[in-house]
């Protein structure tokens, strides 16, 4: 009986290991295929030239600028809001208050809303209702709402990890609440906050549907926040879905993957630093 069990268990364990192997291979297949096909397309000209003839010729410089511009705007809006919300919940509200619960549920729901719905909202609210048009600003504002839950959660965790003695010492020295928060709590939580920002950058860089509906798909380089812009992800969508240039599509996809992997690496680095700091 015992023996039978062990044979059955071995088979089950083999299946489980195979499942893990499959996922590893799937990741390698996706990344490897795009890397092999896309490596040839990436050149200095590809990175620095403006796309012409809808992207059939030229590079993707304006899409790179568009992606970075949108991401910066989103982070600039979302970071203070996220930190503010997290500080309020952890430092100004009693633990597990109804208000905290309400904000946390809102953030969870917000995190679950699909990007296309954000796109529709950004279009009808920022583009039409507030009259911002298809622009970097509309796109950035929409993105900032999408990354807000991540910002709030990571900052909350970082602030919660700040030892209580830090606060007590500061308050005992006669500092007010805000002095304690702004000079003791937030500086101690900075590494965690940076992790949140890096994760949010990753999300913004890859976002497509919401950006398409709010920032437009203009091919020029955006200068003002009110200019329309096309992100790399949106550019990839047009190149691939309309079969404009597969060569450039592979290059753009590879560049996106590289960016996301670098961002991921940085996030892990800062997270590890953060946990080291807490241990000492």
């Amino acid at each position: 009986m015992k023996h039978l069990h062990s044979i059955r268990e071995r088979i089950i364990y083999a299946i489980i290991w195979l499942g893990a192997l499959f996922v590893a291979l799937a990741l390698l297949a996706i990344v490897g295929y795009v890397a092999v096909k896309g490596a040839g397309s990436i050149s200095w000209a590809f990175l620095t030239e403006i796309p012409s003839r809808m992207g059939k010729e030229g590079g993707i410089s304006s899409a790179i600028v568009g992606t970075l511009y949108l991401t910066v705007v989103a982070i600039l809006i979302s970071t203070p809001l996220g930190i503010g919300a997290a500080v309020y919940l952890t430092e100004y509200q009693p633990r597990r208050s109804r208000f905290t619960r309400m904000v946390e549920i809102s953030a969870e729901v917000l995190a679950g809303i699909p990007s296309i719905v954000f796109g529709l909202f950004g279009f009808v609210f920022f583009v039409i209702f507030l009259g911002l048009g298809w622009s970097v600003l509309s796109g950035g504002l929409t993105l900032s709402l999408m990354i807000l839950p991540t910002m709030i959660r990571t900052t909350q965790e970082a602030i919660a990890a700040v030892p209580a003695e830090f606060r007590e010492n500061s308050l005992a020295l006669g500092a007010t609440r805000w002095q304690t928060v702004s000079r003791i709590v937030i500086p101690s939580a900075v590494p965690g906050i940076i992790t949140g920002i890096i994760l949010s950058v990753g999300r913004s860089v890859g976002e497509t549907a919401a950006v398409l509906l709010t920032a437009g798909s203009a091919l020029g380089i955006p200068i003002l926040p009110t200019d329309p812009a096309r992100s790399m992800a949106v550019h990839l969508y047009f190149l691939a879905s309309e079969g404009i240039s597969m060569e450039r599509a592979y290059g753009t996809a590879l560049l996106l993957i590289i960016m996301v992997f670098v961002i991921n690496y940085l996030a892990n680095l800062s997270r590890r630093r953060f946990s080291c700091r807490l241990k000492t």
Binding site: Y13, V87, I116, L212
Partner: protein, 302 residues
């Protein structure tokens, strides 16, 4: 540190007036923080308000039944039925769940119980990378690899429910694995040790003790994975063919609700645009329902 202490002590120099000013500043800061805390709640209210205000009037005119259960989507003739897309969304989603959930569970058990720490660390970062790859890149990979593969080796046009289900299954893995793994890890050690001490094998312990205990978390993982799949746009639009016809097999092309919006928003106006918002409303309500169900069931357990 000395400068900090000095500046905190400056209260004495400013005297009572300084203290009053500081108190007012404290109150202002608190109000500002309260406002930023309210943004996410406010955003949800605005999203519901604005999307429904554009979508609900059209649903009211066509009738909810007519909108949801009519097969004819012909916006130029004023015929707005999204039945084919509801079916498309559900078919692709359940297709993805059909293989994504078992595989996700296998991985979750592997990571929480079986994998040596080093292997687990590598797998975890791989799953993080999978989660980080933009959806449009998944769609692109599906378009250049999976669609031609299905066309050549399995049949049909390649653009199909199957292609969508394959891509979505990979995409929802990180969601399922992360939540299910954490739920399995949260099972108290004593349960496991007790079971092993009673002579149960490892696998018996996993299936009869650990999984049943972790069930609420596992269900949450599946439901959230489902939400992810239903709401996914860019990966699906590139691989499912986007035809508004009722599919007759998993090799047939379909259009999902999300694809419908992204395909036609660029040029739609008037009632047509409202119909796209109505499609978004249906999608949004569905996902809101799923998320609230998870939140409520989690809360009930606390």
């Amino acid at each position: 540190m000395t400068t900090r202490v000095a500046s905190l002590g400056s209260y004495n120099q400013h005297g009572k007036r300084g203290f009053a000013i500081r108190l007012r500043k404290e109150a202002a800061v608190e109000r500002l923080l309260l406002l930023s805390a309210l943004v996410s709640t406010l955003a949800i209210i605005l999203i519901i308000l604005f999307i429904c205000s554009k979508g609900v009037p059209l649903i009211a005119r066509v009738g909810l039944g007519g909108f949801l259960f009519s097969n004819t989507w012909n916006p130029l003739a004023g015929q707005f039925g999204i039945a084919t897309m509801v079916v498309g969304s559900l078919a692709v989603t359940f297709g993805a769940l059909a293989w994504g959930v078992p595989l996700g569970m296998i991985l979750a058990i592997f990571l929480a119980e079986l994998a040596p720490p080093r292997v687990a660390a590598v797998m975890n970062s791989m799953i993080e990378l999978l989660a980080g790859i933009p959806s449009v890149v998944y769609g692109f990979f599906g378009l250049v690899v999976i669609v031609p593969f299905i066309r050549v080796h399995i049949g049909g046009p390649g653009f199909s429910i199957l292609a969508g289900a394959i891509i979505l299954g990979i995409m929802i893995l990180p969601t399922i694995v992360n939540i299910a793994r954490d739920a399995i890890k949260a099972v108290p050690r004593e349960y496991k040790e007790g079971s092993l001490a009673l002579g149960a094998t490892n696998w018996q312990t996993v299936t009869r003790i650990i999984l049943p205990t972790a069930r609420p978390g596992i269900i949450a993982a599946i439901v959230l994975g489902m939400g992810r799949a239903v709401g996914e746009t860019m990966a699906v639009v590139l691989v499912t063919g986007n035809v508004t016809r009722m599919p007759d097999s998993i090799l047939a092309p379909v259009r999902t609700m999300t694809s419908n919006v992204v395909l036609e928003m660029g040029y739609a106006s008037g009632e047509h645009q409202m119909a796209l918002f109505a499609t978004g409303t249906v999608l949004f309500m569905f996902i809101l329902g799923l998320n609230l169900a998870v939140t409520a069931s989690m809360k009930a357990r606390d």
